[in-house]
Symmetry: none
Subunit: 500 residues, 2 copies
């Protein structure tokens, strides 16, 4: 097989992988947004078959042969093919170590686990989810032995979502956050300042909330011809290509900001995917490069922009117009303070940006222990509650508000949570660089997101997987990961809010 | 390879085929019910890849090998495996007898022909479509020589949709319809009776129409945990397994009955699929056995039940309750007459149950002539108009309302139309047998569909593809295809309606 034949065969395999993954993703979307209940078993079976075919293609002799031919002639390859070879080599190496039948069984397990988790959460009964989670953890612990690891076994999972990340670095990272955020939080807790938030929990008809979510998406330049917003139990983003990026939110009648921030958050993810370069759109490189960089985009929109006074100078009048009964007596400043008040919430996705990292720390520590086998699955509710109490000073009243709140584990997503905390740090670093050429405050005040989007597209979005996370960070900001920007951002913001 | 290995390999191939078809169907569903506009190109690409993989699996050496091994030991196979072997042998033969290059060229032709037909229809100019249709017919005439046939070459196409059906039988069938329905229609056309229908075109808020559609589906025992109703441009049914059967309807504010009858029609299809036997549910046999039997279920619900006075004795008060302003001055009898008034429409999909089969007869006669080479494609518009005039007493003013109205020929669907007419005849035969053990009128009057559904499930639905259409017909009714029941049903109904 010569180089041209190798490229053709390689592309043929990747197109099939893309087709099967696309199919499986659509089934996930469908399941989360309204598929009939009884469809669950057959869907799991089909998803198992598709995952099995993807697996076979990745570990196939044909793939191996293609990779070898293309790697030998790396200098003659264009950048896109080169990046695809690097990406597939990593996947090939990752999966050739796992026996295919075990992988198939795992995929089938994950096909069913989501619904089990949902039931467990609805009934607030961890024991429903326990046996499934036990199987997931057991499988992952076996897999990491097959796959191998450097340092801590958890590093292998971290690397899946944030290439190059290690527990050593993360331990340091969280230590730095803890060192300055915990004291800041204490100072706030000791402050006499009272911030009213009760007006956010009045009755806000969900139909109007939905209109406002669509309004915000339009303003931040979400392309509705290349995506859609729906409702699901747990908000998420799913992307097929830059031309089909779907997000969900969840409307609660008595929690005005829940849907707003889910929409803005997922909207930030969606903008990343919708602005991938056209040259790589319909290839395996046509998606965000890592979970951490992805999260930097969602959190920049959710927090740095979405909880900014200037953002609300533009959007608050519109919100009052939608809910005059509930908000016309609330000033912009009262609203701003309310949406930024640290609540020590029990729920990660509803927690404030100050305590958010503490929620992640709990999950990070527990995941590390699970992968090491240092805690039994049945003991998770107790361990969870203990840690939440230790970091946030509150105790979950039930599993629904505690260990069952997140969907991730039911999807086998271990090593994923730290990306959220990294995203916050990256976002602050990016924003710091952006502010050198754009007057962000003025743009937010005017509700103008075009220039911001162009900046993000050119610096981050368009590259897709053509650049590694750390490469983007260095090319854009001139620095590696540095939590200082994020910490200082929080200190400035909350010291001002509480007159500390 | 021994028998057990052969069975395992065979099932493995079938599971993959099922997975890819499932995926492609979900994309179709998604596209029809709201996927973003810009997703179209990538979706077409993915569906092309999936269809290609299905094709490769069907004609593969592995398939051939499995079929040979299993066929040799037919006596040792269970009924389900046996039926799967017969089904796949048919598909294998169908696709392998045609030289692959010719098949590829034909697929390419069909890829373009739809657009040409669309343009021709929009411009109401048959000459635009003529050369493409000529090529399609030419190809199909060649293919039927490759594939072989018994009796008339058209039999091979009939067999694709209605296994075992022949022109000999259909000729008789349509002759019988022509002999009695055409005169009946003439008598109606000469009748003085005036039936008012204008109240059906008043403003009926679509939201309430939707509620009523759901109400009907609930009453006829559509299982919402195993399916759903949504809206799309053209109503359709799509089935994954008995546990996931989805239907659509379309609400027009000024056409009350359009959505009602689309919902009942698709509901009839859906009940068939939801009541397939559990033993074959997740196999390639787990679906309706033929287009004709399928259509018998949808038309039984749409026409025999759904346009029945007793049905509306139950449902009409509910409908009036939903639309008091529009209907409280309309009596049940006025409503019944309006929904049954023959319209002599030029358009098949808008025609009534009396004239529908005549529309099909025109297509059947023309298709047979085309396959025999007894009519030149260029002469079709004239032939079409002559036949429509003869059977329906009206003349199409242009090709758009005439020979160009249906999409089927541009998609190569020859032999498909007769299923629609067969469905009507089967439905009447089934209903006649059912009426010997069930008091259908009383059940309809009470809005009780449970017993009816049990009857249909036990006699028809549960068998899926385990029984051939004619086998079902004979087992249930004791007879082969017999149009008398359908004809008498029409005569009784319309003679009474028009006091003839």
């Amino acid at each position: 097989m010569n180089l041209e034949q190798g490229k053709k065969q390689f592309n043929g395999i990747l197109e099939k992988i893309r087709a099967y993954r696309h199919s499986s993703s659509l089934m996930y979307w469908d399941a989360s947004t309204g598929a009939p209940k009884k469809a669950v078993n057959n869907r799991a079976k089909i998803q198992g078959i598709l995952a099995g075919e993807v697996f076979k293609l990745i570990v196939s002799d044909e793939m191996k042969e293609c990779l070898e031919i293309l790697e030998k002639e790396r200098d003659r390859l264009d950048d896109i093919t080169n990046a695809m070879v690097v990406k597939m080599r990593k996947e090939y190496n990752k999966f050739t170590k796992i026996p295919s039948e075990e992988f198939r069984q795992y995929a089938e397990l994950l096909g069913k686990s989501h619904t089990v988790w949902e039931e467990a959460k609805n009934k607030s009964d961890f024991s429903i989810f326990e046996p499934v989670l036990e199987k997931i953890i057991g499988t992952l612990r076996k897999f990491v032995e097959y796959r191998g690891y450097t340092g801590h076994p958890y590093n292998t999972f971290l690397d899946d979502y944030e290439p190059g990340m290690t527990t050593e670095r993360l331990d340091e990272f969280f230590a730095a956050l803890k060192e300055r955020i915990v004291p800041l939080l204490k100072r706030i807790q000791n402050s006499d300042k009272i911030i009213k938030t009760d007006f956010l929990d009045e009755s806000y008809p969900t139909k109007i909330q939905e209109e406002f979510s669509h309004y915000i998406l339009d303003k931040i330049c979400f392309d509705k011809d290349a995506g859609m917003l729906k409702e699901s139990e747990h908000p998420f983003t799913i992307n097929f290509t830059r031309n089909d990026v779907r997000i969900t939110t969840h409307y609660y009648e008595n929690k005005l900001t829940s849907a707003i921030y889910s929409t803005i958050h997922e909207g930030g993810h969606a903008l990343y995917e919708q602005n991938i370069g056209e040259d790589i759109a319909e290839t395996i490189l046509g998606r965000g490069t890592s979970m951490g960089i992805h999260e930097s985009q969602s959190r920049m929109f959710e927090n740095i922009f979405g909880r900014n006074m200037n953002f609300w100078k533009h959007f608050y009048p519109k919100l009052v117009e939608k809910f005059p009964e509930q908000l016309s007596n609330i000033s912009l400043n009262e609203f701003y303070e309310a949406i930024n008040k640290p609540e020590n919430s029990l729920i990660r996705i509803e927690s404030d940006e100050l305590t958010y990292s503490l929620h992640i720390m709990v999950r990070y520590e527990i995941e590390k222990m699970l992968i090491e086998g240092k805690v039994a699955v049945k003991d998770l509710p107790e361990l969870w509650n203990r840690k939440i109490e230790e970091y946030l000073g509150i105790t979950p009243p039930n599993d629904k508000m505690g260990v069952l709140q997140d969907v991730h584990w039911s999807d086998g997503l271990f090593g994923y949570f730290p990306s959220y905390a990294l995203g916050n740090a990256y976002a602050s670093q990016f924003e710091n660089t952006m502010s050198k050429t754009l007057d962000i405050d003025e743009l937010l005040k005017a509700g103008q997101f075009n220039e911001i989007l162009v900046w993000l597209r050119e610096n981050i979005h368009k590259h897709g997987c053509l650049k590694k996370p750390n490469e983007i960070l260095k090319d854009v900001t001139g620095e590696e990961l540095n939590p200082t920007y994020f910490i200082e951002y929080l200190e400035n913001k909350f010291e001002k809010l509480y007159n500390l």
